[in-house]
Symmetry: C2
Subunit: 424 residues, 2 copies
Amino acid sequence: MDNAPAPSLHDTIRRMGERAVAASRALATLSTRKKNLILEAMADALDADRARILAANARDMAAGRDAGLADAMLDRLHLTDARLDGVINAVRSLVGLRDPVGREIARWTRPNGLLIRKMRVPLGVIGIIYEARPNVTVDAAALCFKASNAVILRGGREALQTNIALAEALQRGGAAKGLPPDSIQLISVTDHDAVRELVRLEGLVDLVIPRGGERLIRTVAEQARVPVIKHYKGVCHVYVDKAADPEMALSIIENAKCSRPGVCNALEKVLVHRDIAPSFLPLLAERLRARRVELRGDEAACAAVPGLVPATDADWDAEYLDLVLAVKVVDGVQAAIDHINRHGSHHSDSIITADAKARDQFLQQVDSACVYVNASTRFTDGGEFGLGAEIGISTDKLHARGPMALEELTTYKYQITGNGQIRV
Amino acid sequence: MDNAPAPSLHDTIRRMGERAVAASRALATLSTRKKNLILEAMADALDADRARILAANARDMAAGRDAGLADAMLDRLHLTDARLDGVINAVRSLVGLRDPVGREIARWTRPNGLLIRKMRVPLGVIGIIYEARPNVTVDAAALCFKASNAVILRGGREALQTNIALAEALQRGGAAKGLPPDSIQLISVTDHDAVRELVRLEGLVDLVIPRGGERLIRTVAEQARVPVIKHYKGVCHVYVDKAADPEMALSIIENAKCSRPGVCNALEKVLVHRDIAPSFLPLLAERLRARRVELRGDEAACAAVPGLVPATDADWDAEYLDLVLAVKVVDGVQAAIDHINRHGSHHSDSIITADAKARDQFLQQVDSACVYVNASTRFTDGGEFGLGAEIGISTDKLHARGPMALEELTTYKYQITGNGQIRV
């Protein structure tokens, strides 16, 4: 029991949960039109509070520099006028997205006359746990709100002043147009135990989404008593089949690896059919070396291309998030599928082939959220899918898989209407 | 670390998980026709093994009597020829149900020409943790299989001999028609820690469903590192509005309370509008006393009907599973909604009314899996909904809510087909 948190923290977080539940009841009754008015008002308030927000961010940046934060971390933390414009525009763009709440998913009538309607409804209360980027505060709050959910935000302590300023603008702007109190709450205590308290609010919090590095996600998943949807790493593959168009394969690999190496849908591994390895691998090496990509190869790949770095076992499971690519020669599509299912992260994987049989086998058997044929893995994105803004890319299988947009922030209930039916 | 399990148990359960994953890969490629042939063969094998199964059950029953099991527990454990017929017929009935796997949920084409198909696929590996009823062994295994999932079963130790005989019949019958090895595995070690090991097989087990009492479910939920869908208690309500047809209300309440008091969709609480309480409650008391239902009332209900047992605070949260009913007088539909959302279990709740406004308010605001108008809560059931056999009734909100049938034992993936698209 010596690990028990101070009662005050426990009670503080629990009260936030209870207030969020009360807010969620009110949110569930808001019309789409009203929600859109509130979103516009929240965007306006962010704009009006621009100076205050940027000043708060400057304080966070100064404290971060004093604390010796790495440059990459400071960059993620930094808000500029242009970045704030992006954040504000993202809120406005939600106005145009279709409201999933209240939609009828299905309806049918039973022989006894009961009408059953399966209706889309809000999840209720969503907890978002994230790290340095303050834009998540606004993105997550606005997305959860558009799907009529109350949200409890827990950002990184290094962004606390910025997050407080952003949340206050959202709350004040929304309240003026009827946003229910406590719809958007920010945990401002910096105690690490606050996360543990939040993820154990069974019966109050319906879903927690951790956004950030693998360590954050793992900690949340291990502590949680409420449902968690994880957005783990993306160890994405391209398999170049023997029936691949080599030029198409090169173009897709270059795009998937180089267009934005630091994101989860970037390419990390290439598997090449043994029959074409001697001809294809030198072309690949030439193409990627021109983009300054470090290539690591298994024995067969190293034999086909002089000067590759020999890959180790750890390479096949690694997410580099950098200009590094591991290349492996495989015996065919089944070997590629088995490798991907074993070493991948069930995120996004692609086959390059003109062979319908290999294509179908890959599509059916690769156990990933997004399985591609003759296209770049970089398309795994709510916007690119046409789903609108996303809260992340789920690598879980339950409830939401792949890009998680507005609809995935809802659930359903059955509404059953009768005229006195009893069960016989 | 003194709680760490013996390495051998840890390894045993982990190896079962790994074998289940391998089986799930093979299961994902089976055609519907082949799965149906296997289901028929499993049913035939259960029939052929009838004597062996009943003999194993007789041993479990004898051991249970020696151990002093309660009569209700012994009844749940007991298999008769007739009960085994029911189990076998349930397997055969799955043949006729539509296979959810491989269905296209949606398809669209992006402006860049990418074709996106959202396809229904198996979950993978499902763990089922249950108690005395041996029919769950067969029901769960067959349902998971029809949705192309591998299953790991962990039944109650008191039913172990019966469960081993049932699982052997399913495995042998299925194998003869091509059931992949390890598709159906039964944990036969009785060590309690086996459950903990099973629910911590992250990356191997995709979903755990605990079926049984609240204590079992809570233990599983607390230990789990893999997703759990809970089937908690049913604290179901009927709210009798002032615009209710009294005779319809009486008939529905009698049906919902008395037709099978021990199940989760049975009625536990009645809320009555204050305006009709003086006239309605005496009728209700008369009707239910004839069925030997014990009525407990709040102060206002006790005032309206002489001889009611005064309800305590604990009554409003209790699931009696017996011929007991608590009755409360409320000020109107909003008070009823608030009471249900606070004290109910988000399972099944019904309003009796002829008033469209009260109806809509109740349908929208009651936060339960199944919300009824003028019908008995007893209809919350996969078969009654027309969904076919169910693995249970989810009281969770993520992934599956309410009756959980074949479709809820699947997930989806995106299959994206292009002709060389790269992200610009």
